[in-house]
Symmetry: C2
Subunit: 346 residues, 2 copies
Amino acid sequence: MVHPLGVALPIVQAPMAGSQGSALALAVTRAGGLGSLPAALLTVPQLRAELEAIRGASVRPVNVNFFCHQIPPPDEERERRWRATLAPYYRELDLDPAAIPEAAARVPFNAETATVLAEFEPPVVSFHFGLPDDNLLARVRSWGATILSSATTVAEARWLERRGVDVIIAQGVEAGGHRGMFLGDDLTTQVGTLALVRQVVGAVRVPVVAARGIADAEGVRAALALGAVAAQVGTAFLRCPEATTSAVHRAALAGAGAEHTALTNLFTGRPARGVVNRIIRELGAIHPAAPAFPLAATAMAPLRARAERVGSADFSPLWCGQNTSGCRAEPAGLVVRGLARVGETT
Amino acid sequence: MVHPLGVALPIVQAPMAGSQGSALALAVTRAGGLGSLPAALLTVPQLRAELEAIRGASVRPVNVNFFCHQIPPPDEERERRWRATLAPYYRELDLDPAAIPEAAARVPFNAETATVLAEFEPPVVSFHFGLPDDNLLARVRSWGATILSSATTVAEARWLERRGVDVIIAQGVEAGGHRGMFLGDDLTTQVGTLALVRQVVGAVRVPVVAARGIADAEGVRAALALGAVAAQVGTAFLRCPEATTSAVHRAALAGAGAEHTALTNLFTGRPARGVVNRIIRELGAIHPAAPAFPLAATAMAPLRARAERVGSADFSPLWCGQNTSGCRAEPAGLVVRGLARVGETT
């Protein structure tokens, strides 16, 4: 039987914007899994360059992943409160709070990116935070792409199935990085992978990928036992040489502190899981003044840049799932083969 | 090979204080799993009566479960704030806030319960919220009982192993009822079952039971794939005729609202997962004024009693895990056999 994702091994590498590009995606695809290119932080020329790199290097599918959030209207009062909250840190790091540059905000999938994408016709396209509007989605469908999106609740899975998604990624609360939640913002609705996957498999007819908390072959086998067609794995790839994970992020993942992660809105405005660091400890993981996604990132960026320059992760988003046990500094091909070992034999 | 829990099937019924007694435990044990008697809410005479019922009915092991929290010192100021928070509800339900009776507080395992227990020498004894002190633990060991306790983090699992626990229950965040956390109270440390079980299995040498989010045979198979020796299941038993689950609780579990649970401290003072109901929606799941465990229960009790009398679950703890898909009104023996179906054949 042909796997619904066209892969030899039931492993999907989770797209991790900011920590990887085409190199990791290609390494995973070469090893027999489904590599993913995260496009959320790419400019249009960068996206084109990455897609060219993939076209030049692989005949097997690589998934291209986009965010499809709404850009919120500016909220000056909230931004003012957020900058006031961060002001003591600006003083400590000797930064000018009046000279915060416009940061490159995460841009949702739009007509321009759809046009670039159409030049390359990638066979697998995935979305996070729901789906783009019907017209944009129809353009992606036009070249026969397999379309994936993430569900964090049964209700989201049903919604995605009604919209015609081909494969649903059931994203458990263990996941590092941004929660894909899009039908609500109540974190108490967010469910563990084990519970979520079984319920989603029971609620929809399309294939389901089990996402997160999976870091080894036993985890993959458990995902398949739950009825998933593949396991999506992110954190285990973050220390691969093919990833672009920063030095402070790699150090945090390798340390004992990686056992302690939290869902935080401090870095972008949306809840995302990362290693608890100084700013999370001091402000709390969820702060009411943090501007709506993706705007919270702007005022945090100068703090992060200044701190990282001296090797400090105090203000960096250290995205990380709840299971770092598979996160080693080894080539992605080895990680894929390790994950698939037991999966192959069942 | 003899199973470390002495069972024919790798199913442990989670003790659920307030929702079951010996009848459910015996039904599960008869079906080949490990039934559990929750003792946290029992008086000493009630405990003795339940242990007599078990001794009279079963030659196979039944697990007896105790809480081992510390009773906190009274905090008048916090109690005052808590009662002020609840005052509008007292007015609405026409209850006298000056006449709140002393509720039967959850009592930790102590010398008196140890003495009763020694009369019966149950072969399996489990603890929640850590372990009792060394003397009490030695008394339980004296008759050769297999001792279990819950870990919600890798650090807790290591701590329990150092204290000589025989089997560790890795309790994922999906679990209904009280979180077993005892080395800290930071909810961000609480991990999904899939991630937790693999990490605990890797960190300790004693057998591990995978707890929660498991509601069917595929879930059990996944738990075994993760390296667990058994799956602990709670919610799937709550609607069994052998359970003592209240009518409003049963109705909540059967409704669509059961998809939405939260960790709340409103009912007892400790975070426990239940279906989101009116009091959680209106006060928020975690309230800073709620007195320390188990004292928050006292002022909530009259509201609950009055509301339940008219069929309302507005003030009731509707304990429930994140996967109610296996929760049907059918005999416990059927539930056990359904859970074990695939587990047996792998």
